[in-house]
């Protein structure tokens, strides 16, 4: 070890502020590069799951439409239920 004490190590003979701020910035850049992929992964996984849910719910709407298509639309003044559901989904 080159320095004799912790205080000397921190002070760096007057250059402490320069040296330590440079090392702190380096740690911040390293931390950014490690955290950014973690956040991105969470975002992508959520997006893939949302897309899966959407496709599944569309299948449900289509089935529902097929059942109600002929019966409900003949009733006057009533919005077909499947159209209301579609609006809610998309």
């Amino acid at each position: 070890m080159y320095f004799d004490s912790w205080a000397g190590f921190l002070a760096m003979e007057g250059h402490g502020l320069y040296v330590w701020s440079a090392y702190v910035i380096a740690m911040m850049v390293i931390a950014y590069n490690l955290i950014a992929p973690l956040l991105a992964k969470r975002r992508v996984v959520a997006e893939v799951r949302r897309q899966e849910r959407l496709i599944r719910s569309k299948v449900v709407v289509r089935d529902f439409k097929a059942i109600t298509e002929n019966s409900l639309e003949r009733v006057e003044g009533l919005e077909p239920v499947h159209r209301a559901v579609e609006r809610g989904v998309q």
């Binding site: 070890m1 080159y2 320069y18 040296v19 701020s21 992929p37 996984v45 893939v48 897309q51």
Partner: protein
């Protein structure tokens, strides 16, 4: 020689599978090397006879500057592959490398400014090396912004590849700026053709730090590339099965 690996390299799924085996090695080796190099450089090397202790910034400044330039060269290579062979994985690599390169470029400029204050008496000067490095940062930011501004993936890939290739002219300017314009920034400490102008007790931690930073770059680049693969292949069965 068996060339099938070369074709497999273009397959995002193959890369996703194989790279999971690299991650633990990259994590351990990069973090251990950086830790050893920085503790060695901070506490165990003697001070410089001229600059005192401020020179200890070199153990961050030089690896960050090397990487900022090397990452740009890798991006230009990926850009050429994207334009010539239209390999999707090359464009994904180009995309994920840009913010990493920009972060190392910021680190290089920031540590350089901090080092400049006690050494030259100024934070910033429009010296050729410093200016060329600032242009490199603007190129990185430009490539990231261009990608964000274009909606379709294919058009964005082409535009970013062309911009990366055009900007590569800046790299030799950075490299030779200290020889062409003899201003404030000192000449190269490490040269491939000559003996380094540095005492071995300072040289070893610097070389370890450079190796550690390169490994760290490989680690975070692979991490980001794997996520980009998941994002672009999200309509495929294997990604859906992996995620759910």
């Amino acid at each position: 020689m068996n060339w099938t690996f070369f074709h497999k390299l273009g397959s995002p799924k193959w890369f996703y599978d194989i790279s999971s085996k690299w991650l633990p090695w990259l994590q351990v080796s990069s973090l251990v090397l950086i830790l050893v190099a920085l503790v060695w450089g901070l506490a165990f090397t003697p001070p410089d006879y001229l600059q005192g202790n401020s020179y200890r910034i070199i153990f961050i400044h030089v690896p960050a500057s090397f990487l900022a330039q090397a990452v740009y060269l890798m991006m230009a290579t990926a850009a050429a592959v994207t334009l010539i062979w239209k390999i999707k994985l090359a464009d994904m690599a180009l995309k994920v490398m840009a913010p990493i390169g920009a972060s190392f470029c910021v680190l290089s400029l920031a540590t350089g400014a901090i080092w400049g204050q006690p050494t030259w008496g100024t934070w910033w000067v429009w010296d050729a090396r410093l200016t060329a490095m600032l242009i490199l940062l603007f190129l990185y930011i430009g490539i990231v912004a261009l990608r964000g501004a274009i909606q379709t993936t294919e058009a964005a890939a082409k535009a970013c590849a062309i911009l990366s290739l055009v900007g590569v002219v800046n790299i030799p300017i950075i490299k030779f700026s200290v020889d062409w314009w003899n201003t404030l920034h000192q000449g190269a400490t490490l040269k491939l053709t000559e003996k380094p102008s540095m005492a071995p007790e300072m040289l070893w931690p610097l070389l370890l730090s450079i190796a550690g930073f390169y490994l760290f770059f490989t680690l975070v680049m692979v991490l980001r590339l794997r996520i980009e693969i998941l994002s672009r292949e999200r309509k495929t069965r294997w990604v859906k099965e992996l995620v759910s």
